[in-house]
């Protein structure tokens, strides 16, 4: 900051507009060549930022005047640069006239102002204070840009309401526009950071990796046909439709665009047919539209990026060809498939390699996440190397490896991977939207009413038509056809976004009307993002698109989902007519028999994901319960639970239903968080929100450890902690909890009360505590024991027995018996499984049981 301030001030003081110009050029050059070879350039970004602060040039001059001494020591500083660079042996740069480290110098570096005699008298002295701005310039400025964009994002979320009604991309573009306006007003050149290489090698991969990695796998594969249909055919349809119609428009003399030929039109059309409905997706998520619509929009945006880029490359190539022969068209079609399928091939290959690698990373947890990124990026780069669809490669790579990798890596690595993927993707996209805003203001536009309006019109028209026609074709193949409302959602969700802009911006310069294309692209992006992006929420709500409660994260829902799946699979087997369930079944078999064996380290813990989740939920529940009673400091947030803890001291009757309910709420809320990991990642800018649960888990580990250390659980040394260790543990909680448990529990409780009256006597005895400790997980088994005598009596007195006990069936009796056994065992020597664990110490506590969730380090 200081340097640049200083520098700019120096410039200003010189009042040399010529220098300024050079500086700008240099800046430009710097942005064009972000790998840092440009040597000494100006510090425009910083300068710009400062300019914002000090409101323009004049204040800048004032600052200079405040500290004129600085500029006089310019030479000293320069010298110190030299010393520094020599000292560090850093590429032998001579400050003030640095040649580029990489050997490419296009523009002469800015002449530092003032006389510049290198050998100064002071050269013998060791510099006390040196600065080497050129050295850090590029990363420094990039960092500042990213920061600026990130601050903007923070800003939006200060007011939550804004982002509900106005999509984030709109806001980002707006901020970009403002920044652009400021830059424009100070005559600053826009940062030309978006070169083809930068975009394709650095900015695009994070975005698509993000989408690919967080693609909800199951719905995607259930709808893969439709997704690909819309993504591939839909994009082709749009590109060709728009391209042809625009070409027709170009023939009209009045518009003055006859010089745009068919290839260029097609190229342009391909650019603007890349939909990027981030905004729409978040709206869809909020209003929870039906899963089919959601996944089709999601998948479409992902794969049509791939298609668009392929088309883009093809058409750029074609646009440069003087003559297009028919054979080229066929070659183009062939190439299209080679590129697409080749990308998929590489993706799958690298995905499996990545999964296989993570099999062996258990000892090097620190770098585990790295493999994921490196392999994805490698897939991308290799695909790029062979000029096949790199987007396809990285997406399939992410899709392929995700499942296996997440089982192999530790929980923390998994979280890290997700966060980093999310973060990078979101940064890239933020930057692109931001630049879009800046560029909109600062570049010169070629505005052609006719062409641009027709572009808008055709984009809208062909999108709508395409959706209509394509749905008619695909509907007969779908179990759940898209109705008109869905189709509207699909068509209206066709926002254009970052990819389009970047593609347009990176058009080769030999395209004659590049400026017009950029302008038109920006126009269509702004039009769709602002108009459609803002209006889609009210519209979707208004027309009442079929909705799904996708956030229905209850165990019952999960169980029944699975039940239904199996039922359908079974019925399909029975009636001999198979759909994707059949193939899924086949794949699962193949997966279990072969893939998992190879790719997953611990493949014996082969459980369905659902089961895993459920297990986790329960562990989590236990977690929460433990936290309640045990180590409250570990979870200070659960305030209400403090009361619960204190409550036991009071007579049982005081436990109002409200308390129980709140307990229940807490339970319910915290219990099922984990499953959201499938659903909540899909929104591009939202980070997974399961972190909290995991933190609790982790915290819990430590708290358990802590509480275990003082002594064994069984001993009466720590009656309190022992009581609190698990939810219904102590007697005090006892009184509190039975009702809760009771709800979950069914009739055999009543039975047990009757048939085992002796129990109640035992009930009060301290020995039972151990089995109670097991309660959270063995809730039902232990239920009978729970109600204390008085409780029971009370109940009887109050309302008699709620259920006729005569109806109890044999199994219930059986259950009770086994329960009784459990109790007996638990009370004395052999505790139930769950109770046993805490006693044994950290290694065997339930949270540590499953390897996946065990923090391995």
């Amino acid at each position: 900051m200081h340097v640049s301030l200083f520098d700019s001030c120096a410039n200003l003081e010189e009042n040399s507009s010529k220098l300024l110009q050079k500086k700008k050029k240099c800046l430009c050059y710097f942005w064009m060549c972000p790998r840092g070879r440009s040597g000494d350039t100006t510090r425009v970004v910083v300068w710009t930022l400062i300019s914002f602060l000090v409101d323009g040039v004049k204040s800048g001059v004032q600052i200079v005047k405040m500290d004129p001494r600085l500029s006089k020591h310019w030479d000293v500083l320069l010298f110190s640069f030299a010393v520094l660079s020599v000292l560090h042996g850093s590429a032998g740069e001579i400050p003030g006239r640095p040649t580029t480290g990489g050997g490419v110098t296009v523009l002469p570096p800015v002449e530092p102002d003032g006389p510049q005699a290198y050998p100064e008298p002071e050269k013998d002295n060791l510099p006390v204070f040196t600065m080497d701005y050129p050295r850090i310039q590029i990363p420094f400025e990039i960092t500042l840009w990213v920061l600026l964009a990130s601050f903007a994002k923070i800003g939006f979320h200060v007011y939550n309401k804004i982002t509900i009604w106005v999509p984030e991309s709109c806001l980002l573009i707006s901020i970009g526009l403002i920044v652009g306006a400021i830059m424009h007003s100070v005559n600053e050149e826009p940062p030309a950071v978006l070169t083809t290489n930068v975009f394709f090698l650095y900015m695009l991969p994070p975005i698509v990796l993000d989408s690919g990695y967080f693609m909800p796998t199951r719905p995607f594969f259930e709808n893969i046909g439709t997704v690909l249909w819309f993504a591939v055919v839909g994009t082709l349809w749009n590109s060709i439709g728009i391209g042809m119609s625009l070409f027709a428009i170009c023939q009209i003399e009045a518009f003055g665009v006859q010089d745009i030929n068919l290839q260029e039109n097609l190229l342009f059309a391909a650019i603007i047919s890349a939909v990027d409905p981030v905004a729409v997706l978040s709206v869809f998520e909020d209003v929870s539209v039906n899963e089919q619509l959601y996944i089709v929009v999601f998948g479409e945006c992902l794969f049509n990026d791939a298609v668009t880029v392929v088309l883009y490359n093809m058409f750029t190539f074609v646009a440069e060809m003087p003559v297009v022969e028919p054979v080229d068209v066929f070659l183009g079609v062939a190439r299209f498939f080679v590129v697409g399928l080749g990308g998929m091939g590489f993706g799958v290959l690298f995905g499996f390699v990545a999964a296989f690698t993570t099999r062996f990373t258990s000892k090097v947890r620190e770098i585990e996440p790295l493999f994921i990124f490196m392999y994805s990026y490698l897939a991308y780069l290799v695909a790029e190397l062979f000029a096949i669809s790199s987007i396809m490669a990285i997406v399939t790579c992410a899709l392929t490896m995700k499942y296996y990798v997440e089982e192999n890596v530790s929980q923390r690595s998994c979280t890290t991977i997700r966060h980093v993927v999310k973060m990078l993707g979101s940064i890239s996209e933020t930057l692109i939207f931001f630049f879009l805003g800046v560029v909109t203001i600062t570049t010169e536009h070629e505005w052609n009413w006719g062409y641009i309006l027709f572009t808008l019109l055709f984009a809208f028209l062909w999108r709508g038509l395409g959706v209509l026609v394509l749905t008619q074709i695909i509907n007969p193949f779908r179990t759940i056809p898209f109705n008109l409302k869905d189709q509207f959602g699909l068509a209206y969700g066709g926002l254009r976004g970052a990819i389009s802009f970047a593609l347009a911006f990176t058009l080769p310069d030999n395209i004659g009307r590049k400026q017009l294309f950029v302008t038109a692209t920006i126009a269509i992006i702004i039009f769709t993002v602002f108009l459609q992006g803002i209006s889609i929420r009210p519209l979707i709500e208004y027309i009442n698109v079929r909705r799904t409660n996708r956030n229905l994260d209850t165990i019952n829902a999960e169980i029944h989902c699975r039940l239904m799946e199996h039922t359908i699979a079974g019925i399909e087997d029975l009636c001999g007519q198979w759909s994707h369930f059949y193939w899924k079944d086949k794949f699962m078999k193949f997966n279990t028999r072969i893939l998992r064996r190879i790719l997953i380290r611990d493949n014996r813990a082969e459980s369905s994901i659902v089961a895993l989740y459920k297990k986790l939920e329960l562990q989590n529940a236990m977690e929460i319960l433990d936290t309640v009673s045990g180590d409250i400091s570990a979870a200070p947030s659960i305030v209400s639970l403090h009361e619960e803890k204190k409550a036991p001291a009071k007579p049982k009757k005081k436990f109002l239903a409200a308390d129980l309910r709140s307990m229940h709420d807490i339970l319910a809320k915290n219990m099922y968080k984990i499953r959201q990991r499938t659903t909540s990642y899909t929104s591009k800018h939202a980070l997974p929100n399961d972190s909290r649960t995991r933190e609790i888990l982790i915290r819990r580990h430590s708290s358990i450890r802590r509480s275990l250390r003082p002594g064994s659980f069984q001993t009466a040394v720590l009656p309190k902690s022992h009581k609190y260790f698990s939810l219904p543990a102590g007697k005090n909680l006892d009184s509190n909890f039975p009702p809760v448990r009771q709800r979950g529990i069914d009739d055999h409780e009543t039975m047990s009360e009757i048939s085992f009256p002796a129990k109640h006597a035992r009930f009060v005895s301290p020995s039972r505590a151990s089995s109670k400790a097991a309660l959270p997980l063995r809730r039902l088994d232990t239920l009978e024991e729970v109600p204390s005598v008085d409780f029971l009596d009370e109940r009887r007195a109050r309302r008699g027995l709620p259920r006729t006990h005569s109806s109890s069936s044999e199994p219930r009796r059986h259950a009770e018996k086994s329960e009784k056994e459990n109790e007996d065992n638990g009370g004395s020597s052999v505790p139930p499984v769950w109770a046993a664990e805490p006693r044994d110490g950290t290694t065997r506590n339930p949270l540590l049981r499953r390897p996946q969730w065990n923090p391995k380090n």
């Binding site: 829902a557 019925i571 297990k615 529990i745």
Partner: protein, 226 residues
């Protein structure tokens, strides 16, 4: 069996069934073929016939599915109990639970269809036909669901079923007094608990309209040996 289908009384039979089940006659023809394939050209299918389908072997809830076919409650004629053998009509009736809804159906129809599917699921749980899913019944289903998932299956199933039951109870009877307990899931509660769950995409089978013999044969031969 071509001669069979050509006979006019079969045509009439088909039409009756079509009216009853809502399938098109083509679909019924297809399903009839499958029926004959399964039954070995008998008039009825017995439990063994279904149990021998190799494709079903890996289905964790095979038993429940087969039971559903022999459950009179799924015939929608108000009876309960078990059938020993099922005819084509029964077969179709059960299948008709999975018919995709018509493209344009009113809200009420949709609701009715949903209810019907839920009822089907409910019946799968409620093995003793007493109108409630008790914990034992629920546990059993969950256990079977998880039976393919290895070691954790048994223990986890219990826990999960318990938690699920707790959930049902807390959803449906939020104001339960401390001394009450939950007796079992009634159909109303069942409906309630699965209220927001999307069933459209999960409980439908696209029954083939046209007799795509090649396709069916191909798949049929690959997965079933008869």
């Amino acid at each position: 069996m071509g001669s069979w289908q050509a006979r006019p009384d079969h045509q009439r039979h088909y039409e009756e069934l079509a009216q009853k089940t809502g399938f098109s006659t083509e679909q019924i023809k297809n399903l009839h073929k499958r029926f004959q394939q399964l039954s070995g050209n008998q008039e009825t299918i017995s439990r063994e016939n279904l149990e021998n389908i190799p494709a079903l072997a890996n289905n964790p809830i095979k038993k429940q599915i087969i039971d559903a076919f022999f459950d009179k409650r799924n015939q929608q004629d108000g009876e309960s109990g078990c059938l020993e053998e099922i005819t084509l009509g029964h077969f179709l009736m059960v299948m008709s639970h999975f018919r995709p809804p018509q493209h344009k159906s009113s809200e009420d129809e949709r609701h009715a269809i949903r209810r019907q599917k839920l009822r089907f699921l409910f019946n799968m749980h409620d093995t003793d036909s007493d109108g409630t899913i008790t914990l034992a019944e629920y546990r059993k289903v969950v256990e079977e669901l998880l039976s393919k998932s290895g070691a954790i299956g048994h223990e986890a199933a219990k826990i999960i079923a318990d938690a699920a039951m707790l959930e049902v109870a807390s959803t449906n009877v939020p104001h339960m007094a401390p001394d009450e307990f939950y007796e079992g899931i009634t159909f109303e509660h069942f409906e309630q608990i699965l209220n927001g769950l999307e069933m459209e995409s999960r409980m439908h089978i696209r029954f083939l309209d046209v007799a795509t013999t090649t396709m069916r044969c191909g798949k049929g031969s690959s997965s079933s040996t008869y």
